[in-house]
Amino acid sequence: MHLNKYTELLERLESEELEQVELGAEVYQQLLAIYLYENKLANAKLLWMRVPDKLKEDKELSQLNLLNLALQHNNYTDFFKHIKYEWSEKVKAPLEDLLLKQREELFTLVGSAYVSIYQQDLLELSLLSENELKKTCAALDWTEELYGDRVILKPKVKETPPSRGNDDQLLKLTEFVTFLEN
């Protein structure tokens, strides 16, 4: 998944906003969706602030803002609740990506932040069905345990793969040493 797959569209929309006087709700919807997907929450918040009042009543736009608020407050339950909505074509793609990304993020976070978590709590956070959750956890190699009558999940920490090649690092180091020697 490329983070910059919406860059072009974003640039076009942003410049449209800077030069047109009367904008339709669509531009704002798309902008907001992309900002959310790219995790530019400050931008999303400001965008909502500058949406003209009469457009704020737009159904889809206010639904998007609910997502925005949920993300601002780090409220996963609200987020997964509000994203279940019949989105129009224009914003569907970024929002589907956003959903996948958030779900992945949630599980990485839980994986690193919890030694053990009640299945019920995680179900409430992620709003997945029990089967879906089981599948996800199995894929991540998490173990479950019974504690009384409640199921406890024990996450495993994922290793992050190295992201850059060695050649590049060597080049940079050479550059630095050259500077020091001069």
Binding site: E14, S15, E17, L18, E19, V21, A42, N43, L46, M49, R50, N74, L109, S112, A113, Y114, V115, S116, I117, Y118, D121, Y147, I152, P162, S163, R164, Q169, K172, F176, F179
Partner: protein, 446 residues
């Protein structure tokens, strides 16, 4: 068209054709009041001038239009379009002869669009204007402050952030421009007095913009520049910046950093006028969230009046976080309800939420064990051996290298400055003459 205006057009045309822009730039200011008086027929004048060839002439017509905007009440969209055309098509070489007038045009234009509530349309125009008139990418112009103001008004920072991110190494002021152009100082004295204002405004607005996008470190730097500007008297811009500086530094560092000594203005004028904020700082240092909440409530009226209420709330949140961070230094494991009572949060669930968010943003390292309701605090897992850390170090190194280069360049400039050379050599000469007799005293031929 009045004959006086015809004269104006002719003057612009002949002088522009012969390339005597210097002369033209000196004479045009005198026609300004004439143009402003005839605001109703300025469009006719524009038709006879070409933006590319007669940039200076058009500039003054624009200036006159903006001056008379109060009485003439022009169609906003039309005027904005005109300004847009102008910054896209003008001739920069000609514009350099009338930099002051250009700045003034931009200031008036800013006022105009702010007044008409069309700030967002001005962003591109002013950014283009800055690109045209600045001589270096790192030069600060008075227009920067206007661009910041428009961005704040329009709540759109995409355009302005690249300008703010560039570290300033040079400042273009009206006073300096007048000097290099040897214009009569008198007609621009008002503007020259505003140099300081635009400088301070740039850093004040810039700080506010960075605060809004939650880049608190950079915001703190901007506010610091604003309040530590050498001054004899206090500017209200500095006072407001000082208030925000105090709050942002609580959020970033949890205390007030040392402020350079050379700023007596702060101690003498600003401290007494920012009492509430100092109370807030004193309470914050006690790290009791309860007391902090009470004091914010107590002064809420003052904070709201200063438009700092949002920041005050951020300060409150930051104290909770800081207290949790402090716990990680003392304890290895702690139950969630203990965390809640120690940092004065209402419930264990709330504490869990704070901790989860802090783990997410990397402010603490911990893991929660829901089975027995405990938190396990860990050390920073950073071993400084990951590629990411390496990348970070590299970027920092590159920045430092650039800084070194910049300092070397500036030093070179100073060394080559005739005044400096004269002074440095002058004192050496004195030394030489005083030593003169001595060197000869031991001369064997004597």
């Amino acid at each position: 068209m009045g004959s006086a205006l015809e004269n104006y057009v002719n003057q612009v045309r002949t002088l522009s054709a012969s390339g005597s822009y210097r002369e033209l730039a000196d004479e045009l200011p005198e026609s300004l009041s004439l143009l402003a008086r005839n605001w109703s027929i300025l469009d006719n004048v524009l038709e006879t001038l070409d933006m590319q060839q007669h940039t200076l002439g058009v500039l003054y017509v624009l200036l006159a239009k903006l001056h008379s905007a109060g009485t003439a009440n022009p169609e906003p969209v039309q005027l904005i379009q005109l300004m847009r055309d102008f910054v896209q098509r003008n001739n920069v070489d000609q514009l350099r002869f009338a930099v002051c007038a250009f700045y003034e045009t931009c200031h008036l234009f800013t006022d105009f669009v702010v007044q008409k509530n069309l700030s967002i349309l001005g962003l591109r125009i002013l950014s283009r204007a800055i690109d045209q008139i600045r001589q270096l990418d790192t030069q600060l112009t008075p227009i920067h402050a206007d661009l910041c103001l428009l961005s704040l008004k329009a709540k759109n920072f995409g355009v302005v952030l690249p300008y703010l991110d560039a570290d300033i190494t040079d400042i273009s002021t009206v006073a300096a421009e007048c000097k290099t152009q040897q214009q009569q100082q008198s007609q621009h004295t008002v503007d020259a007095n505003n140099d300081a204002k635009y400088f301070l405004l740039y850093y004040y607005y810039g700080g506010m913009i960075y605060t809004a996008v939650k880049n608190y470190e950079r915001a703190l730097y901007f506010f610091e520049v604003c309040i530590t500007t050498p001054a004899m008297a206090m500017s209200h811009i500095m006072l407001e910046a000082y208030k925000k500086f105090l709050m942002v530094s609580l959020i970033v560092e949890g205390k007030i950093p040392n402020i350079p000594k050379n700023t007596q203005v702060i101690g003498r004028f600003m401290k007494p006028m920012a009492n509430h904020y100092h109370d807030l700082v004193n309470v914050y240092v006690n790290s009791s969230s309860e007391e902090l909440r009470i004091i914010i409530l107590k002064y809420s009226e003052a904070f709201t009046r200063d438009n700092n209420m949002g920041l005050a709330k951020q300060v409150a949140t930051s104290l909770y976080k800081r207290n949790i961070q402090r716990l990680t230094k003392t304890f290895l494991t702690l139950s969630l309800s203990d965390v809640a009572s120690r940092v004065q949060l209402s419930s264990a669930a709330e504490a869990e939420r704070y901790i989860l968010n802090m783990i997410k943003s990397g402010e603490i390292y911990a893991s929660i064990n829901q089975k027995d309701g405990m938190v396990l605090f860990k050390d920073d897992p950073e071993k400084y051996n990951s590629p990411d850390m390496f990348l970070k170090v590299q970027t920092n190194i590159t920045q430092v290298l650039d800084l070194v280069k910049q300092i070397n360049k500036m030093e070179e400039e100073i060394i080559l400055n005739p005044l400096y050379v004269k002074k440095a050599l002058g004192s050496q000469d004195d030394d030489l003459t005083s030593q003169h007799p001595k060197t000869f005293s031991g001369d064997p031929t004597d």
